[in-house]
Every structure is written in C-alpha cells, then in structure tokens.
Amino acid sequence: MFSLRAKSVCLCAILLALAVYSAGCATQASKKAEFFGKVEPPPGQVLRYISGSEPESLDPQVGTGQPEARIYMAFFEGLVEYDPKTMEPIPAIAETWDTNKDSSEFIFHLRKNARFSNGDPITAQDFVYTFRRGLAPALAARNGYLAYEIKYAQGYNEGGSFVRDTKTGKFVTAAEVEPEAESKGQSVEPAMPANASPHAAELAVDKENPSYDTDFHHFMHEPVRLVVAGDEKGREKEFKANPKLRAALENKELVPVKAEDIGVEAIDDYTFRLSLTQPAPYFIGLMPHQFFRAVPRKAIEQWGDTAWTLPEHIVTSGPFKLKAWKPYNEIVAVKDPMYWDAANVRLNQISFYPLEETTTMMNLYKAGEVDAVFNHNVPVGWLDQIRPLKDYMDAPEVAIEYYQFNTTRPPFTDKRVRKAFNMAVDKKALAEYRKIVKPLTAFTPEGIFPGYPQPKGDDFNPEKAKQLLAEAGFKDASGKFDPKKFPINEVELTYNTAESNRQVAEFVQAQWKQNLGLTVSLKNMEFKTFLQSRAKLEYKGLGRAGWVGDYMDPYTFLALFSTVGGDNGTGWYDPKYANMLKEANRQSDPQKRYELLAKAEAYMLDAQPVIPLMTNATNWVKKPYVKGMYPNPGTLHAWKFVYIEDDRAKWDYGVPKLTSDKPTTAE
C-alpha cells in the first residue's frame, strides 16, 4: 500500500517538476532570437497596443492618468502636439504661436482646415469653450489646477468672487489688500493678492495687428482684481489670514467670477489668446496635455458632460475616431477622414487593449497578438534576457522616484537625521540593481532638461551619516553613533503595494542595515489607504513617492514643495523656497531662469525633506515593424506618425534615435 501510493506521489512530483523545467528551457532556447517572440506585421495598417488600465473616461478633460492620455492622443488634438521624440510642443491645430516679451501671453494662430469628426470646423471659439468647460466648477475636473496659471482661472474654478464698490462701481484690486508679510501661505498661489506682478499693468499694443487690441485684452491688463472665496466659511478663513481683507470688503458687493472672465480669448475665428497671471515660459509645454485638447461643444451640450462620450454620441477632434468601445476589452480607433492631415495618417486602425497584468501583456506580445505595450512592463528580472533584443525600448524618463520623510514626526524633525538616512543609501548600487534607471541625488530627473544646471545632493557617505546621527544625539559614551540609541520603532518605510516598490524598499532596507546597523521595518499598503496616510502625515518615518512631470520643465517637479499643504506630504514648507521659485519664473531669459530654479532646488535639497532615489527609465517593447514610435520621456505617442512597415530592411533594430529628424536605426 505504502509503496504504491508513495510511488504515484513521487511520480506526480517529478512530472510537475519536469513540466515546469522543460517549459522554462523551451522558452529559454527561443530567447536566442533577435526579437522577443513572433515578428509578423499584421496586414492592413492595424496597430494593436496595450494602453494600461481601463480608461476612466473618453473625455480628455476628465481622465487624468497616463493610460487615458495615450488613448486621447488618438481621438483628440490640442493647439499643439507632443513631438514624438522629445515631447516638445509641435504644431497641431495651431500652425504657429507667439508669446509676448515676458511669456505671460500666448497667441495661437489656428489652421483653417481643422475639423471635428462630424465635419464641423475647429475654431478659436472651440478652444475658448474647451478651456472654460475644463475649469467649470460643475465639471469638477481633477486636472483643473493645471490651468490655474491662466488669469482668473483659479478664481472661477474655486467659485470665488470679485469685490465691487457699489458706489463707484470699481473693483477692489489685489494690490490694495496685499498683506505686509510676504510669508503668508496664499502668497504663492497665482490668483492670490501677493501675486500681482507689476507687468500686468503693461499693455503692449501690437502695431502690426491692431485687431488684437480688444476690450477683453484691456480688461486682462487692468490691475489684478481681488478674488475672495465665494462662501462665507472660506472668506472667514481668508480674513484670518489677512486682516486687511475684512475692512476692504465692508460695504462692497461680491461679483462671482464668471467663465467669461478667464484669460482665454478668441480674437477672431482663427486667433486664440491666453493671458496668464504671471510669466510662465513653460506653459506652452503644458498645452499638448490632454486637459487642453479640443472638445466638441455641440455634442457636449446636446448629450451632457458624461453621455457625450458614448460611442453613439462621441465627436472627436484628433486623427482617429471611435469605432467601438468594449470596456475592459478593447477600444477601436479608426482613421478619421475629416482630420485636417488625414492624408499623412498612415494607420487605418488602432486597437487599444486595456490590461493590467504584466505577464499577460508580455505573453500577448510574444505570441504576436499585440504590436507594442505601454511603459514599465518588462519585469526587472527579465531585463538581462530582453534588453539585448532588438525590440526592447528604454530611455530616460521625465519621472523620478524618491522616499519622503514625515518631517513633523521625530526623529525626522531633525535635518541631520534626514541627511544621514539619505547618505546611507548607495544610489549607484540601487541603480545597478534596477538595471535601467539612473542614480539620483537631486529632485529633478537627470539628463532630461538640456541646459538645466542641475544641483547635486549629498553623495553616498556612510561614515558621515553615522557622524551626523551621533551629532543628533544617538551616541554612546565615547561619542560614536550607537544604533541602539536610535528610536527605530518610530521609523517605518511605507509604500503602496507594487512589486517594484517592494524590491526597492527591500534593497534600501538592506542598505540601512549594512551601513547604519538600523533595521527599518517595511510596511506595504493598499494604494488609497497609503495616499490617505501620506496626505494626512500619519505615516511613521518614510513614505514612497514618485512623480511624473506634467510638462517638460523642472518647475513641474520643484512646484511640489511650493505650497503649504501641497502635494508633497512631507510637512516641509519654506516660504523662502516658494519665493525663489516665483522669482525664477519672473525671469524671462530661459537660461537665467534655469539657474534660479537650480538655486531653489539646491536650497530644497539642503533641507532634505526627501531621499531622491532614481531617475526612472521608460521600459517597454515594440515590434520592429512598428515605426514612428519612440521611447520619449513620457512614452506618449502621437499616433498620426506611427505606421506598420512591411519591408524588413526598413525596420527598427534597437532603440531609434531620439534626436535626429530622420528616424534611422541606432546602435
């Protein structure tokens, strides 16, 4: 009895092991190939692309994520588009654009043949509508803050009010109530009083184009009006922050900020002007963002803010239009003949597959059922095998990863302790372990912004780290650092559940253990729980964070620490830093501005509210026959340039160059 049953057990175990091993070997053998899996171009210029998780919406002003952005780039077009290689703005519906001297005003010249998918022309009025809709409080778009640089946009979006003197009919200006101290929290928010920059009063009349001299333009150049909160409660708060305000509001009436007050203007059908609260040279880089892509007024007004995206109602403005939308299954985009540049659009169809499981994506890719996958989908463990292949793509990304300190909770209230923890992490070793990322000591991604004099943070220095900790009081009788004195139970490294986050956390934990003798416990959390603990500063010690730039400018990173209760979740805020940033943005010379930004960054790094870890890298695969897709810093692809190449000689072998104009093969 024993032997018989035991035999069958052994047999099963052996069979299982064999099956697993042979499967492993079978695939290993096929790895000798040039590419990962099958390479047979699909017929009929059809691209099958895995775009990430199921999109929140097909409304470009509603969906906020990158998976959505990739899909919107097929259906909607803005004034400008991302360059497929560098992500710099390139002409789209706007053929050309000018800015005024200090980059606080942009004028876009629209092409006359741009049309929606229903044949309606796309005019400057459509952009006025698009911007106003995006900011409407009723839409409650989460990306609304991106447009806050536009004059009175924030006031409108927040439901604020102007203040008018009932007797004189004049509006109270921001300058009148400006608080003496510059250190107030509000002072950095654009539409707030302290932000009344002097240039606003200058009104330069364009002599060549007298028609540009409109009443609205004059309104935009009036002294900046005061905007107060629309509700009683909000105003009370503001009164507390600025005592002058209460007096200024006596016997005045409140006039709600309307959509028409926002600094967007259709000078004529094909000329569109943006007026900003302050100089913002980087703002043009934000214009290709999904939030600013043209949406169809007629359809939205007819069907409502959500129903217009249904396949039977949707009207689009991009090179492709919607053919079918099967949630969690596929979104089919077909070439739109109405598109102004339809003659140059080569793909007939794009099938977007919403998928989340990395292994499944790679399986589909390998079996030749999809042609490309989105970013960060080759597991690190596979890189040694896949990186040498000719269809693997990586390049530096406009994204960083870092750990942030809870600076409101001991022991990290002490800057020396924060610095010590930073110095005890060997970022070069970490980068080697993660294989494609670059070590980072600063807070802006390395090598992404040409000409930016990026400062350097502290280097790896375990000895100095121990010394700093000893200085902070964690020392034994001889004055040397003693790990036993450190309140290690007050420190945890918290991260949201993801395999890559765990791997990095384990590595950093080992670093601290080896270099400081401190074993920091790790704690993973489900995403939304994690976000809450971070936002409310409930986490102990350290939390994981990452940031993907909204546009190609260091400011998108540095601005994280520019507000009191801002995005950063560290509890660190320094008005001096905020002012340094503001100062830099007033600078119209780009190089000088960069230098000032770099100075601000160095100042922030010195305070060490974060441990910078790495500049991320894009990391994905595409079949060699897919041309016109590049590993640009945001992995956002302008689909109109993409096509399927049947001629093997013209395929991409390796990562295509990101700089030259002609897409030739590299390496």
Binding site: N329, K528, T529
Partner: protein, 306 residues
C-alpha cells in the same frame, strides 16, 4: 416545500438591503476616496467634486439616495468609469463570468464526480491512488501558477492556443481559462465525492439494497450517489455563486472582461455605486444558489425535511 421556497424568496429582498447597507457602511469607513490619486487635489477642486456627487450632503440623505436606487434596481453610474452605468457593466460582464464559471464548474463536476466515485468504489486500488494523487496535484498548484504554466506550454511554446483575451463563446480563447479554473474545483469535487461515497457505501440502506440483489450499477447510481453527493452539493452553492460573480485571478491572467476584475478594481477605487451594484448581485446569487442547494438536499436525501 412550496411554502419553504416562497418564504426564502421573499426573504431575499430584506437580505439584500442588509448586505447593501453593511457594504455602504464599509465603504464609508475605508480610507481614501474615489477621486484621491497620486496627485493631491487642491481643496477647491475636491469641494467641486464633492458637490457634484452629493458627498457634501448629510449621511442619511446619501444613504437614502443609494438605497432608493438599489430598490429601483438602477444602481446609477460608476464613479470611476464615467459614462458607464453599473447596470450596463453588470449586463456586459455577466455573460463572460457566467460562461467561464458555469463551463468550468460543469467540467469539474463531471470529471470530479466520476473520479471520486470510481475511487470510492475501488478504494485502495491503483485507480483510487491515481485519481486522488491527481486531485491533490490539482489542489497544490494554485491557479495563478497553473494558468501561466498552461500558457507557457500550450500557447508560447507550442503556439496551439491564444494566450489571453476574450474571444466570445465559443472560441479557442476559452480553453485555457476554463482548464485553469476547473482544476482546483475538480480536485475539490473528486475528494468530496470520494469521502461522501465511502461514508454512504457503508450505510445500512446500501447494504439493504445490495442484499435485495440490485445490480451494482443500480446501487451506485440510484442509491449511493444521492447520499454521497451531499457534501458536493453543500459546496456547490457558494462555489457557483463565487464563480459566477467572477474569478479575479483567472480574469486577470487571461485579460477577460469579467465581473471579478471590475469588482476588485471597484474596491480599490472606492467606486461606491459599482461596489454596491456588484455586491447586491452577488448576494442575490448566493441566496438563490443556497436555496437551490437546500431544495436539492430534500430531493437527494428524503430524510431531510424543512
């Protein structure tokens, strides 16, 4: 019997109300919101969102509104997936999950009962050991391992079957997910059947039946199988309800647009209407399947009375 069934059907509605209310409370207690994301939203925008979705109203107003929509059978729109209504999502995903679940369970039932019965009849024979060893193998390989293994061998090495995605019914795409899913259930059923049968085969009434001179086949099929399947029947109720309401792991591995995937993401996204809708559906399914199980008890074993 009729009265019993009627009573259980009537009780379904209050049960759903209880389940939905508890779920609603849970969602309120859970940290985070459907709109919270990596980027912290400015307070003013958060206020706009809360106003838009009525989250600024007192809790009883929100609860009343939610309960009203549940009782009307219209769960409203998903908060995460703008423009998709919960009812539509249920209608769309249900056929996928049901096809997958029922198909897998059917296969599992067939193979499992057959193997379990044979094993019990030939206790301690080669056949018994072989089928039970296989069953145990099926149990010890979790489906998140079995699925990728099958894909690796059958679709990436041999290129016989597509590795993932939904292809409608019937299609080759179904083969791997169904195999993956049925593996564990097959094992469960085989083992439960075997032990149930062993129990029954020793019972007096089987002895009597044999003594009466009935053929072995008649004894097994007409008498033993009925009682022997009792544990399987108990297991089937929850298992089926669970299968139909989606099986996350398999849906994710094979990228199938089923209910399970939606449900997991709805939980992670704190998508209240979607969670409520799916939970209401699941609770109805569980109540109905368990009612069926109870009815089946009485049919299988005449001694069971309610």
């Amino acid at each position: 019997m009729f009265k019993f069934v009627l009573r259980r059907l009537i009780i379904t509605l209050p049960m759903v109300v209880i389940v939905v209310s508890l779920t609603w409370g849970l969602i309120r207690l859970a940290p985070g919101n459907f709109y919270s994301g990596e980027k912290k939203i400015p307070a003013a925008i958060e206020k706009n969102i809360r106003e838009k979705y009525g989250l600024d109203k007192p809790w009883y107003v929100q609860y009343g509104r939610m309960m009203g929509s549940v009782l009307r059978g219209d769960f409203g729109n998903s908060l995460r997936y703008q423009g998709q209504s919960v009812n539509q999502i249920l209608l769309m995903t249900l056929p996928v999950s049901a096809t997958l679940g029922l198909f897998s369970y059917l296969i599992a039932l067939l193979v499992g009962i057959l193997a379990g019965t044979l094993a019990a009849l030939k206790q301690n024979s080669r056949l018994d050991y072989a089928s039970m060893a296989l069953a145990m193998l099926g149990l010890s390989i979790p489906n998140f391992v079995l699925g990728p293994l099958l894909v690796l061998v059958l679709s990436l090495s041999l290129y016989w079957l597509p590795p993932a995605r939904w292809g409608g019914f019937p299609s080759w795409n179904l083969v791997l997910p169904v195999l993956t899913l049925s593996g564990v259930y097959m094992a469960y059923i085989a083992r439960l059947t075997r032990s149930g049968m062993l129990e029954v085969l020793r019972a007096d009434y089987i002895r009597t039946a044999r003594a009466k001179g009935l053929s072995e086949r008649a004894v097994v099929f007409r008498h033993a199988l009925r009682g022997g399947l009792l544990p399987v029947v108990s297991f089937t109720g929850p298992a089926l309800a669970f299968l139909i309401s989606g099986t996350v792991v398999v849906e994710r591995i094979f990228a199938l647009p089923g209910l399970g995937n939606y449900f997991i993401n709805a939980n992670l996204n704190r998508d209240e209407p979607l969670i409520i809708g799916i939970v209401a559906f699941i609770s109805i399914a569980i109540l109905l399947f368990n009612l069926l199980v109870d009815v089946a008890y009485a049919y299988i074993d005449p001694r069971i009375r309610y």
